[in-house]
Amino acid sequence: MDWNCCWTKEQIERGDCPYIREGEEELLVLLPRRIVEKCFYCDRFRDDLRRLSQEELPLARIVPFLMEALRDQKNQISAMAGSLDSRNQEISFLHELAEVLQTTMNLDEVLSVAMTAITAGKGFGMNRAFLLLTEKRQHNLGIGPRNLQEAWQTWDEISHHNYSLTEMASQFFNTKLRSEKAKFHEILTLLEAHLTEEGHLLNRVLGEHKPLLVDEQLRSSVGDNGLTELLDVESYLIMPLVCRNRPVGVILADNYVTHKMITRQDLESLETFGYTVAFAIERASLYDQLQEKVERLVEVNEQLLEQQEQIVRMEKLALVGEITSSIAHSIRNPLMTIGGFARSLLRKSVGDDPIREHLTSLVTAAQQLDDVLTEILTSSDSLYPARDQWDLNLLVYRVSEELAERLSRREITLRLDLAQNLPMAFIDFRQITFCLRTIIINLLDSLSDGSTVTLFTRQSSEGLLLEASAGPIPSGHTATGLGLMVCRNLLEKQSIPFTITTGDQEISFKITVPIERRE
């Protein structure tokens, strides 16, 4: 019989079979493969089979059935291979995604990777996506084009460069994170509000831990709380992000530009992705918290060290305090005895008794020693400033009352010019009292009898000003003495400005104390 097809020939020439394409030349000499791969689809072969069956050969009748079965099997295998290939790509992509997510602990970077993966063509290829977190809402994010032009621009750029997921995510994180957040600010704000609404679709999906494809059918049956209008798309999917049974956030994704239909297959692929992303978000959040705790711990540790040092310092100072207290006790009692009895005898002596002069000297010397002792003790006391809110005018009144007798003995007038309604000063009351007392006593030493001392308080931009001025003073007088040195020292320790100015006839001491608590 003269056959139309080449199936009977072991070897054929190029052009004998119209189905053999360039690169398939080996089929010219491989008959079995040529029959299975080419002849089964050749019309001339079918004609040959029809003619063969008319010869009533038994095998000729079953060959078409076998051929049909073989073709079906081939199609099935081909479909399975396609599916496997697609799954393989998906697994490779998820593997790459997991690897990329493992390299970062920064939450924004994790979110950038996730959002890039969901929208990248080599990823899940969605046009647009929004990610909302249940906590840390400042990290919420949107990604995608606003229109076709913007979409083409982006896709064109990506196709030219063939970026990997890492590169795309890194580029997004470095250059687009802020602008995309700003671009979708309005939608994100509205979505955020929906996420907190009880019974809202977003909340329901989050609670059920199952992804949802929202399309026309679902919308008409259960509704979607206006999300379709908000997103301006026909269909979209909602992907809950759940880690250890705890809702971490939710992703909404759609094909805003291409309007490509979202399939169940897309949903299933994204489910695995959702677990990976949720875990990475949770890990980054925990790492953030851990960082915060570590920083706090370091801070507390530093404080503890400082406090330990302070305790050691205080212990040393306490020892100094104990010593000075002991000295005070040992000196003050005999001094009090000498001065006290001298005063008593002076008071009881008659006016022309020559011993009065000696007793007066004793009283004065005892008083001087008393003042020096107070200065020394205050100096050691200044190691422990006990600052609090105090009325500065009250302090001035107290010192005035305390020194009234000494001033009146010298016929020195004390004039008070105190501002009313002053805020409280943040000071160590005893130390500032000591300073003012010392300043006035110092003035007493330089002023002639009958002079005037003025105490002045005012509020200034630096705090509260306490000024003591007096005159006339002898020319060439300089403010010296142990007491003033102690004053300067203890005020300096508390960073309180202390200035002494001398004019032709007048001397002025200025202390500016703080109002606010200062560490």
């Binding site: 207290s325 009090m336 005895t337």
Partner: protein, 122 residues
């Protein structure tokens, strides 16, 4: 005439207080130790106690607490060579606080003030 109990471990100080306060018209009784002070307090009624904080190895602040606990109407003025005890909480129980000085006018003023307050309270 108000009766004042002066408690101080220094004999000279006790003598000075007795003389000065006596001159001002007070009846002064003195004690050098805590036990002596407690005996005097049991024997007589006083209008005021002047108490030194450091009584050799004993603490005037402990005695102050005992006096306040057992005789809460009896005012106490604390006397100390050092002003730092003003910051001690237990010193706040006292009705007055005077830093020892060669001029005991401040103490006399405080005595007058505290006794005046007591008289006013009845």
């Amino acid at each position: 005439m108000a009766r004042v109990l002066v408690i101080d471990d220094e004999a000279n100080i006790r003598l000075l207080y007795a003389q000065e306060l006596g001159d001002d018209g007070y009846e002064v009784v003195t004690a050098a130790t805590v036990s002596e002070a407690l005996s005097r307090l049991d024997e007589q009624l006083f209008d005021l106690v002047i108490l030194d904080i450091k009584l050799k190895s004993e603490s005037g602040l402990d005695l102050l607490q005992q006096i306040v606990r057992e005789r809460h109407n009896l005012p106490v003025i604390l006397c100390s060579a050092f002003s730092c005890y003003k910051d001690d909480f237990s010193a706040w129980l006292a009705d007055g606080y005077v830093v020892k000085s060669s001029n005991i006018e401040e103490l006399k003023l405080e005595v007058g003030k505290v006794l005046g307050k007591k008289a006013h309270r009845g």
